[in-house]
């Protein structure tokens, strides 16, 4: 064990004193790990947004067979009927206006909500980064903007904000744990109904967000809501919010699944890259290994050095790639928005750690065969080969 530890400085010198070879190999590993960690962060974002938690209590009531906020029109008067259904705790009419209904990386989503109640309760959970809710209440064209949207569009309290045909004034910016909130601009419902001029004006909303009293009764309440309006002019489809997001984001989910395959394939590239680099290094160092064995190092010591070198390459490239992906995601605030719902690509610690660990592990595995071949080679044969 002691001699194993004493090989570490030698292995490190072998890496740093061959900067071109090491640099190129590490760069390749870093790029592949960057891709893997990035894709895993995307997958993480999709999972968080679309997988239902045990405590989920929110339903989204949408117009039946409509998939875009422009097309989903429901009378605001449904609110009273929904509230009268057993198990419903609250029902908030929401008007949604987007500048692009299809999947895009920079969609601006306005959510018109009632002047009283909803936002005060909702934003209380989050933290206001700047501005205030009273500012929002005091101006008809005011919007409260989620932090991710504000960062993406570089908006601060007091700025004018013009998008999707809505000209508004930023009353504040707020932080939130909810990806849907971080990427929207909350406006006054009446203001948005009048300003958007799409799909009718006053009295028409896009959806209702319904809170149920008991998470176990989500399905029953959803069925009751849809049943209540089944024979109306505006029939509804009601789903838990996560299912609603999953349906809206189905294209992105398929895309991310495909990207996930690419991510894992990039790890295979890491393996191939390290295996190739180490196999070549071992071939180049047959004489060095023979010298070391002549000096008294054992075959096991040589094998250990080779495996460690491969692991160090994997760990270094993996760390650069994974941390690079983490930083890139954190800085760019990427999110996919489609049909008014957002899926955020958040910098995932798990994906970063997985990238580093897997690259290191793959490095170690890639080094095993060259290590065994180096360890088994006879000393004299080593001198003759070169």
């Amino acid at each position: 064990m002691n001699s194993f530890l004493r090989t570490i400085p030698f292995t490190w010198k072998n890496l740093v004193r061959r900067p071109l070879r090491t640099g190129l190999t590490v760069a390749g590993i870093a790029v592949a790990t960057f891709l893997f960690s990035f894709v895993e962060s995307m997958r993480d974002g999709v999972s968080k947004a679309t997988e239902a938690g045990a405590a989920e209590t929110r339903l989204v009531v949408y117009r039946k067979n409509r998939f875009c906020p422009f097309a989903s029109q429901l009378p605001q008067s449904y609110q009273r009927s929904i509230l009268s259904i057993e198990g419903v705790k609250s029902a908030v009419p929401i008007k949604i206006v987007v500048n692009n209904c299809r999947a895009s990386l920079d969609v601006v989503t306005f959510r018109g909500v009632p002047d009283e109640g909803y936002l005060q309760e909702h934003i209380a959970k989050a933290q206001l980064r700047s501005g205030s809710i009273s500012d929002w209440q005091s101006r008809g064209d005011a919007v409260l903007i989620g932090a991710a949207l504000a960062d993406r569009r570089r908006l601060r309290a007091g700025d004018r904000f013009d998008a999707a045909g809505v000209r508004s004034w930023v009353a504040g910016v707020f932080e939130s744990d909810d990806a849907q909130d971080r990427n929207v601009a909350y406006a006054h419902l009446g203001f948005l109904q009048e300003t958007a001029q799409r799909g009718g004006t006053g009295g028409i909303v896009t959806q209702f967000n319904v809170e149920v009293e008991d998470p176990a009764k989500m399905e029953a309440v959803a069925a009751a809501i849809d049943e209540a309006f089944a024979h109306d002019q505006y029939p509804t489809t009601t789903r838990p919010e996560s299912a609603f997001v999953a349906r809206a984001a189905r294209d992105v989910i398929v895309l991310v699944r495909f990207a996930s395959i690419v991510g894992w394939a990039s790890l295979a590239a890491v393996f191939a890259l390290i295996a190739n680099a180490i196999a070549l290094a071992v071939r180049d160092r047959i004489r060095d290994h023979a010298i070391l064995q002549t000096l008294g190092w054992t075959g096991a010591d040589i094998a250990w050095m080779v495996v460690m070198e491969a692991s160090m390459l994997g760990a270094t490239g993996g760390a650069i790639g994974a941390i690079g992906a983490h930083a890139a995601i954190a800085l760019t605030h990427l999110n996919f928005t489609m049909e008014g719902v957002s899926i955020e690509v958040t910098a995932s610690n798990a994906a970063t750690l997985a990238g580093v660990l897997l690259a290191t592990l793959l490095g170690a595995v890639a080094g095993v065969v060259p290590a065994l071949s180096a360890a088994r080679r006879e000393i004299v044969q080593g001198f003759r080969t070169t």
């Binding site: 002549t294 000096l295 008294g296 075959g299």
Partner: protein, 240 residues
Amino acid sequence: MSTIECRNLRKDYRRGEEVIHTLQDVDLDIHGGSFVALMGPSGSGKTTLLNLLAGIDRPTGGTITIGGRDIGTLGRNALAAWRSANVGYIFQLYNLVPVLTAYENVEMPLLLHPLSNKERHQRVTEALELVGLADRYLHYPRQLSGGQEQRVAIARAIVTRPSMILADEPTGDLDRTSAMQVMDLLVRLNKERNQAIVMVTHDPSTAARAGRIVHLEKGKIIDAAEFAHATRTTTIGAHQ
């Protein structure tokens, strides 16, 4: 000091169907502290014998007993440990590790010994001072001349204070001046430290610096008269 005893030592190599008898029934005794030169034409088995004495190759038959221990019976790891403790090997082409400095090359064999950092540093410095390269300790092999590289290799061979130094044509790749310096160094080590030295050489003037010359011809040890005859015959044959 170790005494080296070779009895009926044989080494065969296979090349396809053909078996090459590189060493045939070699009997040799080398006393501790002596300086022996192995001479002979190319292919006579000098380097093979040296490799067997160093424990980096295994005999096909016979025994090698060094310091009362039959090294042919040692397993790979035990043989490596034995080499580390008892053998200092000097190669014709120096064989320094290119990514390590002179200091680090000399330090390499000591990493296997239970020494503190201070002791290790002391030993490396001493060895480099002994070969006159204390001021070049930070130089990489590519920054040294052939003679300097060989002196670093000698420092690496002696740093563990082995009981014997085995040198395979240590001056074969050097100019006359550097060769002289290296030989002076080996003679000094043999006298001052009483370390046994077995040196392979083609050069009679280099061999003359040793206390004893052993002649090899076609894998067998022959006496000096036979050797002179064989060399003359070979030379005449070569001129014809």
